[in-house]
Assembly symmetry: C2
Amino acid sequence: MRNIKILVQYNGKNYCGWQSQPEKLGISGEIERAFFVIANEKIKLIGSGRTDAGVHATGQVANFKCESNIEVRKIPDALNAMLPKDISIIKAEEVNENFHSRYSAKKKKYKYIINNSRYRNPIISDYSYQVKYDLDVEKMKEEAKNLLGSHDFCSFMSSGSSVKDTVRTIESVNLNMKENIIEFEIVGNGFLYNMVRIIVGTLVDIGRGKIEISMKEIIENKSRGTAGHTAPPQGLFLEEVLYE
Amino acid sequence: MRNIKILVQYNGKNYCGWQSQPEKLGISGEIERAFFVIANEKIKLIGSGRTDAGVHATGQVANFKCESNIEVRKIPDALNAMLPKDISIIKAEEVNENFHSRYSAKKKKYKYIINNSRYRNPIISDYSYQVKYDLDVEKMKEEAKNLLGSHDFCSFMSSGSSVKDTVRTIESVNLNMKENIIEFEIVGNGFLYNMVRIIVGTLVDIGRGKIEISMKEIIENKSRGTAGHTAPPQGLFLEEVLYE
């Protein structure tokens, strides 16, 4: 069996997420369907991780095993011709049979965009979280730094996850404001369910003064209730998955 | 009569442009209609310039005279409540009766986004021009510099314009590539019909080697036929209009 690794971009707006649901194709399901059309072969696509409904990706990685002898360099164009316009395959390569998009991943990079304005921005409204309150961005920057390092991040995990080891390592965080647009970037060795969105919601709540305790205390409390709200999906982008 | 200046953002995708057409409301017409709904008064909205069908704005400026005594600070929310979601008023202020969005404008800043990739980018496809050819970006940067200063830019004007004085002054140009995305920014005291789009099309044709003569020669030739193609509207943003 060949093992094919693909790089995928998508606008998550119209999807139930990466994973298909009983009655609905997710992004992975759309790609599996497209491959069946071009190669008449059923594949099981493995993503580096599941993105939720509405979350976007500019650098999702996935792989699948197949028998088809389709030339690897032809795979992106062939799949794109069969895919909806909001999903795009931008690279394909043949990899070692042991490569697994999820288990082989070493780091992931996410970006989150906030439009800090009283007014809707019609250019980025599908790709950002509009926050109308005044935000203390310097305080948010300071507090974001406390995420760095290895911590038990269970305060930043939505219930419903069965993950047992909730320790993750955050390698870098970056929060920048340009005019009204805040860009938050975070790189870590892994993320819990909804972790980035809860981190962003917590930073927003800290920035507007709704939460008075520090990020450090929230981590130490190990309780979802101490952290802030879950920021909405449309501001979130899976930007990069890094392998060795 | 009061004179109200507004700052407008819009996604141009679904419009025939800033100006209304006989059977179709343009962006200005939508705003005039919204004002009539909130204040029961017909206004004539003057934009800093007309943007074409499909062109976006993050900083269009317009003004209108009115009798209504609506509080100026309430105008953005009131208009936005009546406007389609792809048009947003982000500021309103009362100005001197002599202020005219078009005649008082001193400079304009435009941005153009190119996705230089074989593959469609589903996040920015409505906001960029996909160029599949390899581009010599360093050459494009060099040639863009030759636009600086005061020149007769008639080589970069679409036919159908009745403008007589085709001399304009370009104050700054900036061309940057990050991954596959090229951002081109240009500031000038005024722009001819389709000028930015023809400049971008010409830079692309130079970058891919389709045009061999230099930007300097194209300017000197004073002939539309010498310049490159007109880049499509969806990559173009009116970013800022500057007044004294």
